[in-house]
């Protein structure tokens, strides 16, 4: 991958119309997914999306602590999203801040619809997401990783959840923003989307910036198209992990 200039580049598109890293406007970054990376977790996954490195571990269903959070008729999902101190250019304070708490909450809300939580009264499913390297779109990559950690745990799920970000720079909609595109300020907007791909149900949609209605619709179409690519990669990772065990055994 070519080295990109630090900080704010002067232009966001090259002269041939491609982006600075050579992608077309509707291209995803490189995506590499590994499942079962943590030995002691019930389920785990690592997602390398562009320069993002995200590890998610899932535990449970298990006893709820503190106990007053337990609900007698349904289980609960608890998510912790944390950025490592070394994950960004300038050292990030390890104290969980407002941003991390909010992202934990939106990830929890994005994942809840795929689980059959009513099967686990008085229990919790815990997901811990650690961002090792951040390069834009960490909440979407975190959702992708967390969904696979849940899938690796072996609990029933309706579908996988796929996260992908769309945005607009210089008033052009682009898919899967990298960090420097995220920080571009002219004619910019940023829209993380999480989708359950089976029924095309959207479980997360945030929008930062100003877009018109037709622009918004174009961006959403782009997000669903991008999510299809991520979804295939997710399934391929599951297939690779579990079918390799069979081939090795026979």
């Amino acid at each position: 991958m070519p080295l990109l200039p630090e900080g704010h580049p002067e232009k966001i598109f090259r002269e041939d119309g491609l982006r600075l890293d050579g992608r077309k406007p509707d291209d995803l970054r490189d995506l590499r997914i590994e499942i079962g990376v943590l030995k002691n977790a019930d389920g785990s996954a690592m997602v390398c999306h562009g320069k993002n490195r995200i590890i998610a571990g899932a535990y449970g269903p298990r006893e709820v602590h503190p106990r007053h959070l337990a609900q007698s008729d349904t289980g609960i999902l608890q998510v912790q999203y944390r950025m490592s101190t070394f994950s960004v250019g300038e050292r990030k304070s390890p104290v969980p801040g407002r941003r991390e708490k909010e992202i934990s909450m939106v990830i929890q809300h994005a994942l809840e619809p795929v689980l059959f939580l009513e099967q686990y009264p008085n229990s919790t499913i815990d997901i811990f997401i650690q961002v090792m390297t951040a390069d834009g779109g960490t909440r979407c990559a975190s959702i992708t990783a967390a969904a696979l950690a849940l899938a690796d745990m072996g609990i029933p799920m309706r579908d996988l959840v796929t996260g992908v970000a769309v945005g607009k720079v210089d008033n052009k909609p682009i898919l899967d923003l990298a960090d420097y595109e995220d920080k571009w300020e002219e004619g910019a907007a940023d829209m993380p989307v999480a989708v359950m791909m089976n029924e095309k149900k959207i479980t997360l949609l945030q929008l930062d910036g100003q877009v018109g209605i037709d622009e918004y619709e174009r961006m959403l179409d782009l997000a669903i198209k991008g999510a299809e690519g991520v979804y295939e990669a997710q399934k391929e990772a599951l297939r690779k992990k579990y079918t390799s065990e069979i081939v090795g055994g026979r």
Binding site: D42, R62, E63, A151, G154, I155, M157, N198, Q234, Y242
Partner: protein, 194 residues
Amino acid sequence: MSQIKDFVAIGDLLGVVEEFIPGSGTYEANGRIYAMFSGFKRIDRQRLEVSVQPVKKKEIIVPQVGDSVIAEVVFARKQSALLRIFKIRNHFLFDTYDGILHVSNMSSNYLANVDDGFKPTDIVRAKVMSKNEFEYELTTKFPEYGVIYAECSNCGTVLVREGNDLKCNLCAYPNPRKFAKDYGHVRERIENLQ
């Protein structure tokens, strides 16, 4: 036989309801059948049923209707006893569930009071009859269900069986109980020794 071509990931489309009956490991939404686990697709041609055999499945231990459970009597109300279920299908629970044993479901004989069958601290084998919003309704109406471990309510000595009654060898205090037919020869563990 598990074959790679049969592998389905979570959320894969398996068919439509006109083709198959959704079996275990699958669910149906809008007339389409999807996989609920990652695993191998199985099609039963006789029953026209499609199911998924999971590659990895986490066992969830929640009382199901029909289960035989081990529970401790917490207290007796006027017409029912509250039982704390701590063992289901040979699994000790980290978190107990509450069960209600009504006096009419205690014995096949008539019991006037809860105290004629159960006292607090008794360990009981019971069957889950049904579940309401918060509690599981239990029954001990059959010979294999009932008290499997009891202490004298006067002196605390473990009761022994003599004919159709339980006796305290120390103080001869009357201890009426609805006990299981294998009382005194119970093999299964009632304490979590880990």
